[in-house]
Amino acid sequence: MSAKLGIAIARRLGASCVSLVFVVVAVFFITSALPGDVAQSLLGQAATPDAVTALRHNLRLDEPVLLRFANWADGLLHGDFGMSLVSHQSVMSMVHERLLHSLVLAGITTLFAVPTALLLGTFSAIFRNTVFDRCMSVLTLCVVSVPEFLVATLAVLVFAVQLHLLPALASISDIHSIGSFLAAFSMPVTTLGCVIMGQMARMTRAVMVNVLSSSWVEMAVLKGVSPTAIILRHVLPNVVAPLFNVMALSLSYLLGGVVIVESVFHYPGIASLMVDSVASRDIPLVQSCALIFCAAYLLLTTLADVVSLFSAQERSRA
């Protein structure tokens, strides 16, 4: 039984690796196909043909695309992500810092949003079709449909500009104490929380309602099991797999999809690094960022898959 599970997991991981390679190749050739290159973008208005040619040669951009890709891929296999063409710093060091910031933001948002969403979803499912459920349904729908830049800008307008309670910018360098940490992160985390919480709460409710209306839950009720025990012992283990899938999708968004929130709060995360590097056609950096986003996404979805495999195994054993 467990050998079968091992094979399934290995197959899943293998598929992830293949996707990763595919994404890396695709990203490289798509960025190469963008109009303009890093030499033109660096020179801007001073991009006379001679200057562009010289700089291109200096940055070794005049080599064939395939050769450049081979060089980059070779470096990658040896653990070298390459040098940024724009800043001449190692991509690793640039990504490292930004990734850390993004992980902190994503981590705090997860800690705050996941339990809240699960609780709200569960209670909505238990008290389904009551006033509470309907209110929650309307509220989550509102939160999902309002774009994050509006939430962020409104939050800044109210709490920073009008009330002067919180800083408008989430500057990492200003964080010296727990208080300043909370102040800096409260608005970005709330904004991001809004985006993922609504969706997660609704999905949780849908999954829970599905299970709660099944015949074996009815059986448990008839047997006289307490509601708390029904939820914790009988329902939760059965909804873990779909919930993990929902969470995986939401969390992978937190790493790469938060560029608007990063820009509104001037938070130096990895999403804005990627957008920046695309604008300046800094291909090694674009690729490393894409690689990280893709790896994170695959990691989370693979994790969700593994969890569902496990839970299927547990169920069949039971």
Partner: protein
Amino acid sequence: MLNRRNMMKQGTRLLVTGFCAAQPWSGAAGAAGNNTDGAGFARTGLQGAQPRTGGHVRAASTSGSLSDTLDPARQSMATDYMRGNMFYDGLVALDETLTPHPALATSIDSADFKTWRIQLRSGVCFHDGATLTSADVVYSILRHKAPELGSQVHYQAMAMRIVKTDGPLGVVIELDAPNIAFPSVLGLTNFAIIREGTTQFHKANGTGPFTCAVFQPGIRSVALRNPNFWKSGGVWVDSLELISISDDMARHNALLSGDVDIIAAVDPRLVALIRQHNIAVLESPTGTYTNLAIRQDVGPGQNPDFVQAMKLLFNREQMRSSIYLGFCRTGNDQPLPPEHRDCNTTLPQTRFDPDKARFLLKKNGFLNQNLPPLVCSPAANGSVEMAVLLQNTAQNIGLKLDVRRMPADGYWSQSWMHFPMGFGNVNPRASADMTFALSFASTAPWNESHWCNPQFDQLLALSRQEPDAIKRHALYNDMQAMIHTGSGVCIPSFITSLDGFHPRIQGLRPHQGGQLMGYNFARHIWVDEQSSRSTAEETAP
């Protein structure tokens, strides 16, 4: 006190040792003299207030990305220029009216305007403790010539045939051809002086008023006051953090909430709102312009009547009030703004005249024809709005114009100067000479309309050898007249730069060189916590 205009007349000796002591920014004594400055700008800040040392300031600029650099050669964006001016010095500094003054050089002389002798200030130290020598200067200038560096001033550097040392504090620069306006070239931020042999720019090692404590491209930099700065009273604040917030809304919110003290590029629509919050808005009449360039070597621009008609189709008053909300000055199809000391104010103003335009276009058969599109982009400030206004006006007289809006990303390298009719945006140059040489001479690299006028080129060469300021001014006037009537560049307005700052910040003054005092606010500001101005209003002429 030596008079600046007399100095210019002398020609052969533009800069004199010790001149610096009489400059407005060198201390309280100079501050009073500032009102007599040529442009007659209204002063901001409290009259007679004494600059004081200390305080921390946080400023937010607009552009910021990974390509932020501390390499003076590569700096091309506002944030970069601001950083460059904090950490480095040039041989020459340009004041509010873009007049060159000595900085690291104490004098720049030339008998024939071709061979320039530069005497350096002695005892100036780099941030790492090394003393400034002529070798540093030669290295700093010559590196711009290497094409693979990608220098923004490669073109200007190539005009210097020989750059060599002449003793430990002397430098000799020999130009290809005489140029009396050469000291202004050395005032460009890109010609900042760095230590000989520097190739890494993770930190800045200059002679400037601030040392570089933190530099993170695209995020922020922290500058600390340099205790060994060579100029006494040349810098006031203890530390200065510069961040860049490209999102307009976020930048204004940061100012309103007090997260930052100064922001560059206030949206004209928000000026009234910001002033209501007791935050000042500095209006600088800069020579920045957004222009339509009609190429004269291809397409309809080959016909001078077409160019003339397009100039007449610009409803300058409407553009002024609806696009810039009054924060601009009307342009007259020549590149020098009305405040510029060399501006030709006697030229007849081009006015909106659809009837005459229609007559000219009809005569040449341009009406109801398919014409090349007007290429515009958000990258060129206000160009999309201008193109649409122009399209509407043209429609009324039967001229079909298509507007092609390009993305800001890559506009300068991909689209600008590539189409028969396209919009550009040009920042003020350091001198009238540089404006003419870079954007209007036949061989100029940024000759947007591909205008070729040998007579203009002759006048340019003549003006570069003319020691008499009055005669030179007359030549400049003639050249502007030629651009006004002949060139395919339509300049409807000069954009007023708007910067917002809290009342605690003192010392900011309007500057013709660009936003936040020609990107050089760091040296001029000081903090006055007690200041509680009731009216936060600054006015420009």
